[in-house]
């Protein structure tokens, strides 16, 4: 058990800096997920925590001990790789017991620990097999087993489920979550799967281009994205964006974009400011005659999934997504009137991208 503190960590390959000063505090026992677009430095950060990459500057501490100069084996961590990286020449049991063997534990203790982990993960019948004789899901489980046998202070996962099929991924997702609830080991987990991040994390760290954009609980990020990047990144289907400016109309702070205007519930934004209005597809509804802010839109594509209906519409030359719980009798080319719920919109400064 240990907390992790990352202070102004930077990583450069030669002159090319990929992490520009990342600071994250992870309390003991927390399940933190790193998300972000491909190439933003998630794996790099994870590997720096693991000790597989050097830290160019800044500090990483595990359990209040600065580990910058410690080799991986001294950091008391376990890591599950995307490719599993099982030792092909060892059986499942040997794979799982390898770290204990290196630590010169007794044969009996190794057997007992491996047995316990195998029971948790349902690997008992497979202990004598070699990795080549396992299915993808079973290999994944062995990789997890190898990590938990050691009872480390920190678990590190780098996209552990991305090689599994959709069904197995859902199953393993809840198994990992259950495992965390049981072991309460501090965990850092990298993924670029939205759903994984939202469902598993205590807190999510959204990264972009080597920087942390926002850290927060899943719903916090969803409800109050700190900037345009997080707003676009979190949530699926993603948030609609509309450029415009704030004007004061009859004393009411109003968002105006072309022919569309939306009186805002919150009046703290100064008139004249260039802004971006964000609203989620599910916060669009079919307008009733007395709706205030109406948007005339043309349906481009309709995608019914059974539980929901997703409309791809254009209005004023902008394209939007609209998501409805109910089933709709509309067709491509139909004109519909939509209204936006003003209490569920997000305003961002066009200049800085920050939330207003």
């Amino acid at each position: 058990m240990a907390s992790i503190e990352i202070r102004q960590a930077r990583k450069a390959y030669g002159t090319f800096e990929v992490l520009h000063g990342v600071s994250i505090d992870i309390p003991d026992g927390e399940f933190v997920i790193l998300v972000g677009p491909s190439g933003c430095g998630k794996s790099t950060l994870l590997r720096m925590i693991a000790g597989l990459e050097t830290i160019s500057s800044g500090e990483i501490a595990i359990g209040n001990l600065v580990v910058n100069d410690l080799p991986p084996k001294k950091r008391d961590i376990a890591m599950v790789f995307q490719s599993y990286a099982l030792y092909p020449h060892m059986t499942v049991a040997e794979n799982m017991g390898f770290s204990l063997k290196l630590a010169r534990r007794s044969k009996a203790e190794i057997d007992q620990k491996v047995g316990e982990a195998a029971d948790i993960l349902g690997l008992r019948p497979l202990l004598a097999r070699k990795p080549a004789q396992l299915s993808g899901g079973q290999r994944q489980r062995v990789a997890m087993g190898r990590a938990i046998v050691r009872d480390p202070a920190v678990f590190l996962f780098d996209e552990p489920l991305s090689n599994l099929d959709a069904q197995l991924r859902v199953q393993m997702r809840s198994e990992i979550k259950a495992l965390h609830q049981r072991l309460k080991t501090t965990t850092v987990y990298v993924t670029h799967d939205q759903v994984e991040a939202m469902t598993m994390a205590d807190r999510i760290v959204v990264m972009n281009d080597g920087k942390v954009e926002q850290v927060g609980a899943p719903l916090e990020l969803f409800d109050r994205p700190a900037n345009l990047f997080v707003a676009r990144f979190i949530g699926s289907p993603s948030m609609n964006m509309l450029d415009g400016r704030i004007e004061s109309i009859n004393g009411v702070t109003t968002f105006v974009s072309g022919g569309f205007s939306l009186p805002l519930a919150d009046s703290s934004t100064g008139a004249g400011e260039e802004v971006v209005l964000g609203f989620r597809p599910e916060h669009l509804s079919l307008a009733t005659p007395d709706s205030t802010a109406q948007l005339k839109a043309e349906v481009v594509v309709m995608e019914p999934t059974g539980t929901e209906t997703l409309l791809n519409v254009t209005a004023d030359g902008h394209s939007f997504l609209a998501l409805f719980r109910e089933r709709l009798e509309v067709r491509s080319g139909d004109e519909i009137m939509l209204s936006i719920d003003p209490s569920n919109v997000h305003l961002f400064s066009k200049l800085t991208g920050k939330r207003l």
Binding site: P72, Y84, A85, H89, L102, R129, L134, G136
Partner: protein, 301 residues
């Protein structure tokens, strides 16, 4: 919980059923395939068999026409004879010593070099690889004089060390290229990283994980070097051609010139058998290492 079938010996199909053409219904095809295989085998094995049976026959019997295919009275006399005419066993030991040493040295060097070339990017790595490739493009015969004089200048003519040095040099380019490919494909960096995290030092990770995983490739390189050295005649005859230190191949060459092929055919054949057998034995014993598949499943590709 899903399970997958693992073949066990009980349910495994018989050898006959496992032959790929056994399940084809077309009888003509089957017969054709078998006929061609037998013909090929005959073609390949006939000279070998001739050598083998002649080495157990009295000389008169070898010369008879029509040929006698099965020695009427097998005798090991030709072998003792051969050893009287040339120091055959001494030559074999020489060959073994030179080949094994060359294989060992070049395997160790190739392992280290190719591991570094596979793992680390450093300035000049591409140039090194290019140069290694280049050496394979130069016709072997053009190297004869430079290397001869080089070894002479080193004062290593007619010494084991000179010949070993030459063999190691010749085998390294191929060995490094092949092992580098093997390290890259069979032992991805994550494997080593997993070992580091599990508590290995860099050396332990190499020794306990990378090396065992890459054993088939390493064995292949070692055997390849051994066989090349064992079968070599050209360099051995140039660099080490005096007295008792000759290798068996050179010894046989001398034997042939000194009338072995005419007067002592059976003894000569015996020497040839002796020169062939170690290569065969080595191949049979280590063949299982050459079969890949050991690494399958470590990393999902």
């Amino acid at each position: 919980m899903m399970t997958i079938a693992v073949p066990n010996t009980a349910t495994r199909p018989k050898l006959w059923q496992r032959l790929s053409f056994a399940n084809k219904t077309d009888l003509v095809t089957r017969i054709l395939i078998i006929a061609i295989t037998v013909a090929l085998l005959f073609y390949i094995l006939l000279p070998v068999y001739w050598m083998l049976k002649s080495s157990f026959q009295p000389n008169q019997e070898i010369r008879v026409l029509p040929p006698i295919w099965f020695p009427s009275e097998a005798t090991a006399q030709p072998y003792t004879n051969a050893n009287r005419l040339i120091p055959m066993w001494r030559y074999v030991l020489n060959s073994l010593f030179v080949s094994v040493t060359a294989a060992a040295i070049s395997t160790v060097i190739a392992c280290s070099a190719s591991y570094v070339l596979a793992r680390f990017r450093f300035p000049g790595a591409t140039i090194i690889l290019g140069l290694i490739l280049l050496t394979n493009l130069i016709p072997a015969i053009t190297r004869v004089f430079p290397i001869y004089f080089f070894i002479q200048d080193l004062g290593l003519l007619n010494s084991y060390a000179g010949l070993i040095l030459a063999y190691v040099g010749f085998s390294l380019p191929f060995a490094v290229l092949m092992l580098r490919g093997y390290f890259i494909s069979a032992a991805p960096p994550e494997l080593e990283e997993a070992a580091l995290i599990d508590g290995c030092s860099h050396f332990e990770a190499f020794w306990r994980v990378i090396l065992p995983v890459c054993l088939p490739g390493i064995a292949a390189v070692a055997i390849f070097t051994f066989l090349n050295a064992w079968n070599d005649f050209l360099w051995a005859s140039l660099l080490l051609n005096q007295g008792e230190m000759k290798t068996i191949q050179v010894g046989i060459g001398d034997f042939a010139q000194e009338g072995g092929g005419v007067q002592y055919v059976n003894a000569f054949m015996a020497a040839c058998v002796v020169a062939t057998i170690p290569a065969l034995v080595v191949f049979v014993f280590v063949q299982r290492w050459l079969v890949g598949g050991l690494t399958a499943g470590s990393v999902k590709t």
